[in-house]
């Protein structure tokens, strides 16, 4: 296997982009990444996306995006793993370069969600779970997370407010990220008064429906062509899976795919959880944050919320999370999200995160989840410092 580096990143702001279609967003992010990397040619393009067919009336994204980028002819394909599509596309791009097959590839995650009504989006998202036995019984994706959160609160004797630090931290960090959807602080009072979407999940526990695209340029580490100063090394890229349906899990409160992909990633990178300087986790709903912290080895079982309460997750804490706003406040354009996380980790390791800069950040972890963590994609990145 060859060493792989990220030599360029790009992103569109996460917004309701009424004036831009899926192809515009993807090309905007790719052009920004190519400009950042000072390169013009690619061997392949990997497109991470979940719902383009349902929400944008468009499939066959590989050839479409290659053509729109003026690169028709290169290898290109779409990678889908529900909300973990972005991380999965990055994994595919990593394998392509690590294997020696390609010298340089682009990865773009893109999702266009706001052209459809909420009911259509809700139905589309429910396809991340079991279509025949969950969605067919009217159980939406937020419903699955709500049932997990209620059981988690029951098992560990918690109340809704115990989850507030995750939302407050995400919003505090998004306030300084120009690409974030919600650039404003949220108070504990706002959190506790927010209306319920699916109790115990409230509006401030949930990531928004939005549009966005983010892109990476990956290269063999030995062919950086003078791009070494800002190159970030991919020390690990792993995927693990779990049952799609919550009812098929022996222990719904333990995210087994998160555990498996994290353990594989630590081994691949030769690090332990204590070495990680920041963690971009998949906080699509507040409940996912503590459960991820536990399964990834940062908190003991049932203690994930204490991590938030004790301030460990802030920029100057022991393990900063959602450093640019996370899914909650940067936004969660489904198939793009996993790529946004990696772009933000690169910003941190380059020292380009502005007011959200984690001091002395050298090793970053990004984790992209599909469904209720039925797919878990973990990347560990190392900076030069």
């Amino acid at each position: 296997m060859r060493d792989v580096s990220i030599i360029g990143v790009g992103q569109t702001p996460v917004r309701e982009h009424w004036d831009k279609s899926l192809r515009h967003l993807a090309v905007d992010a790719l052009l920004a990444a190519l400009h950042d990397a000072h390169v013009e040619e690619m061997d392949a393009i990997y497109v991470g996306n979940m719902l383009s067919g349902e929400l944008a009336g468009q499939e066959h994204l590989g050839a479409l995006i290659a053509d729109q980028l003026g690169m028709s002819g290169v290898a290109a394909l779409k990678v889908e793993a529900a909300c973990g599509a972005g991380g999965s596309a990055a994994h595919a791009g990593f394998l392509a370069v690590a294997s020696g097959q390609y010298r340089r590839v682009a990865v773009v995650g893109v999702e266009k969600m706001t052209d459809m009504w909420n009911g259509t989006v809700t139905s589309g998202l429910s396809m991340a779970a079991d279509g025949e036995y969950e969605a067919a019984n009217g159980i939406s994706f937020v419903g699955l997370n709500a049932m997990l959160m209620r059981r988690y609160m029951y098992e560990y004797d918690l109340v809704e407010e115990d989850f507030a630090p995750f939302a407050l931290n995400a919003h505090a960090n998004a306030a300084h990220n120009p690409n974030a959807m919600f650039r404003k602080h949220v108070t504990l009072e706002q959190f506790t008064k927010a209306k319920k979407v699916a109790d115990p999940i409230s509006l401030f526990d949930s990531s928004p429906i939005c549009d966005g695209a983010a892109a990476l340029i990956l290269s063999r580490s030995e062919n950086l062509n003078g791009n070494t100063a800002r190159a970030i090394s991919i020390a690990a890229s792993t995927i693990a899976t779990d049952s799609l349906a919550l009812h098929d899990r022996q222990d719904p409160l333990w995210l087994r795919a998160v555990e498996l992909s994290s353990i594989k990633a630590y081994a691949q990178a030769g690090v332990t959880p204590q070495d990680i300087d920041l963690f971009e986790l998949h906080d699509a709903f507040s409940i996912v944050a503590p459960m991820s912290l536990e399964a990834a080895g940062f908190a003991r079982r049932g203690a994930g919320t204490y991590f938030g309460r004790d301030g460990e997750i802030a920029i100057d804490g022991k393990l900063p999370i959602s450093t640019m706003g996370g899914l909650k406040a940067r936004g969660h354009p489904i198939g793009a999200t996993g790529v946004y996380q990696i772009v933000e980790a690169v910003q941190q390791l380059r020292g380009e995160a502005g007011k959200n800069q984690v001091p002395n950040a050298r090793i970053a972890m990004a984790q992209s989840l599909g469904g209720v963590a039925a797919t878990a994609v973990t990347h560990i990145l190392k900076g030069k410092g």
Partner: protein, 133 residues
């Protein structure tokens, strides 16, 4: 979801009678039925009708409904731990949502799940309600 008879017809035993299967090699009981046993990877099974009795593992009330379920909103859904072992997810019925509690005894009933497609194909299946036990 398409208006289509076959995808609904082939799930009739699961939806109307909660028929899962039991692994002939290790005895593990599955709902929904499986082709490969998750316990031992055995691939020989017999059908196994579940009793439909169990206890409430968790629940929520959905305020934003997926397409096809708008008329029910807000509605309660839950996970039920069946007495024979497996968890099943379903809409909850015949109950005031404020009265739901983790651990309460539940039983299966057959109800209308939704009307599908433009011609309104009626889909029936299992829901769960407190059994009062």
């Amino acid at each position: 979801m398409a208006e289509n008879l076959a995808p609904n017809w082939r799930l009739r035993e699961q939806r109307y009678q909660l028929v899962g299967n039991v692994c002939l090699k290790c005895g593990a009981k599955h709902f929904p039925p499986r082709q490969v046993c998750t316990e031992c990877r055995g691939a020989e099974f017999e059908p196994f009708p579940f009793s439909g009795n169990g206890e409430l593992y968790s629940f929520t009330t959905l305020r934003q409904a997926p397409s096809g379920f708008e008329d029910f909103a807000p509605y309660a859904v839950g996970m039920i731990k069946l007495d024979e072992g497996p968890l099943v997810e379903a809409m909850l019925t015949d109950v005031n949502q404020d009265d739901l509690e983790i651990g309460m005894r539940m039983e299966m009933v057959t109800r209308k799940i939704r009307a599908e497609g433009e011609r309104g194909l009626l889909i029936y299946g299992y829901k769960f309600r407190p059994s009062g036990d």
